[in-house]
């Protein structure tokens, strides 16, 4: 059975936005907000971690990026990996990710277009102090 986007309903596992932390909560989230969270979970999941979906996740999940070093080519490759993960999620039509590194802060800005035709922003920053979720699903 295929659900309409509005019918998708997940547990909300985001405990705090800044720093970005996860936990099993009882709150629920639905629709586009649920899909954007699924993309965020993918970005924070090490590749091979989920036994039922070993191809899901990143070799360098964003929660593990503190104190990492990057070349410009690596940043472009990381953008492609983030976009690929986003596009692999159901209900996603297109995903565009831009990664910038400035003054020790890595910023990931994504625009995600879902099957409802709306483009949603998703922004995460990483610095020495913490990883923080800046924007998820605000009006574009």
């Amino acid at each position: 059975m295929t659900l309409a986007l509005a019918q998708v309903r997940d547990l909300d596992c985001i405990a705090t936005f800044s720093p970005l932390t996860f936990d099993e909560g009882s709150a629920e989230v639905s629709g586009a907000a649920a899909i954007l969270r699924r993309i965020l979970y993918r970005w924070c999941t090490p590749a091979g971690f989920l036994s039922w979906a070993e191809g899901l996740g990143l070799k360098r999940p964003i929660l593990d990026l503190d104190a990492s070093t990057w070349t410009p080519q690596q940043l472009r490759g990381y953008e492609a990996a983030l976009e690929r993960e986003a596009k692999d999620e159901d209900y996603v039509l297109t995903a565009k990710v831009r990664v910038t590194l400035a003054a020790g802060v890595l910023t990931i800005r994504a625009t995600i277009k879902l099957v409802d035709g709306i483009t949603y922003p998703l922004e995460v920053t990483v610095d020495q102090a913490a990883t923080a979720l800046r924007t998820i699903g605000a009006a574009a």
Partner: protein, 377 residues
């Protein structure tokens, strides 16, 4: 909560997929919509993780249930069997090395040569097996000895690969040692101590269970097998096969025991030690028990092999066939086992001809010894 009533139920584990389906069915029963859970949906992780954990726990329960019996342990792995054997205060018998007495010849120009405990001499037979000089007392090869002498060699590795046929030892090459030294092919090498492989689960369990036979007033067949093969009970580890004929073979009330090691009939020393041991035991029957070596039931086996890329295949086949016969603890050496052994040799593609066409049956007082002649094309 369902209960596990039978051993069969206890030793049957649901799969991760079955647990997964059960959990999803539970969710549906609770009113959840389980569709649309992509791989990254959090609630899916709970189902998948719980299913994995439950399947793991069920698998562990199966292992523990099987480990409640010694034969069930054998369905797990060797380490479980080793633990199970401790219930009988029995330990698995380890593999041992073969020891040969090999006739050597020194070239006159190189004589005299004295070989002793510090000599470094290596022999290699056609299948690649290496033997190291282990001569304890000095042996001098000179004109007085006609440039000949018999020297002890021990297989470098444990296991029955050291139980070569004498013909293979006669053609062994000296790969390290004094110049001019060679194996005297006109004399015959003698296997003084047969090697054995580590006890298999099956034989270790049978030996352990045989210990029950020692608790009765007199020894049963299983009891004989236990005492004669178990070092802790005064037996000999090199005796790997004990055949008990309790059908009054030498008259009313008599029992005959025939011994073999992994190379063939038990040696004179092994039989003598077993007889001494048996004389101190309470035996069954009124007519007496005899302990003797098995009679060798030698079977000439001529085999042609079709081989790709392994020039040592025929030599390795000879060794493998000797090992196979040495491992027969029952009454029959099956033709299928011979074929399977040959096909397991690297490079063997086919066995076009084989001189034996039927299963080989062990005589009541004997042990099967294969005398293989193997060629390869």
């Amino acid at each position: 909560m369902t209960t596990i009533a039978t051993y069969e139920e206890a030793t049957t584990a649901p799969t991760q997929e079955e647990k997964h389906d059960d959990l999803l069915a539970d969710c549906v029963d609770q009113g959840c919509t389980v569709a649309g859970w992509s791989d990254s949906a959090p609630q899916r992780a709970m189902v998948e993780g719980n299913a994995t954990a439950l399947a793991f726990e069920a698998g562990m329960r199966v292992q523990l249930a099987k480990a409640s019996t010694l034969r069930g342990c054998a369905e797990l792995d060797d380490t479980w069997v080793d633990q199970g054997l401790t219930w009988y205060q029995v330990a698995r018998i380890a593999a041992t090395q073969a020891v040969w007495e090999v006739p050597l010849l020194i070239a006159q120009a190189s004589a005299p040569v004295t070989i002793g405990p510090t000599s470094r001499i290596l022999l290699q037979v056609a299948d690649g097996t290496i033997f190291e000089c282990s001569q304890g007392s000095a042996v001098t090869l000179n004109a007085a000895s006609n440039y000949r002498g018999r020297v002890a060699f021990t297989a470098r590795l444990v296991g029955t690969t050291g139980n070569q046929v004498p013909g293979a030892m006669a053609q062994a090459r000296v790969i390290a040692g004094p110049a001019g030294l060679s194996v005297d092919s006109e004399a015959t090498a003698a296997l003084t101590t047969a090697a054995r492989d580590a006890e298999t689960n099956e034989t270790a369990i049978a030996r352990a269970e045989g210990r029950w036979g020692t608790l009765s007033g007199v020894l049963t067949a299983g009891g004989w097998r236990y005492v004669l093969c178990t070092p802790e009970a005064g037996g000999q580890a090199t005796i790997t096969r004990v055949f008990v004929d309790d059908t009054n073979p030498n008259g009313p009330g008599t029992t005959a025991i025939y011994l073999a090691n992994a190379a063939g009939p038990a040696s004179a020393d092994e039989v003598a030690a077993a007889q001494t041991q048996a004389s101190g035991l309470t035996i069954a029957g009124t007519g007496g028990t005899t302990v003797a070596a098995c009679v060798a039931e030698t079977v000439e086996l001529v085999v042609d092999l079709l081989v790709v890329g392994n020039p040592l295949a025929s030599a390795q086949a000879v060794t493998a066939l000797v090992q196979l016969a040495g491992a027969v603890t029952g009454d029959i050496l099956y033709l299928d086992a011979i074929t399977a052994t040959l096909m397991a040799i690297p490079g063997v593609r086919n066995v076009p001809t084989m001189s034996v066409e039927e299963d080989i049956v062990r005589p009541r007082n004997g042990v099967i010894v294969l005398s293989p002649t193997v060629t390869q094309a």
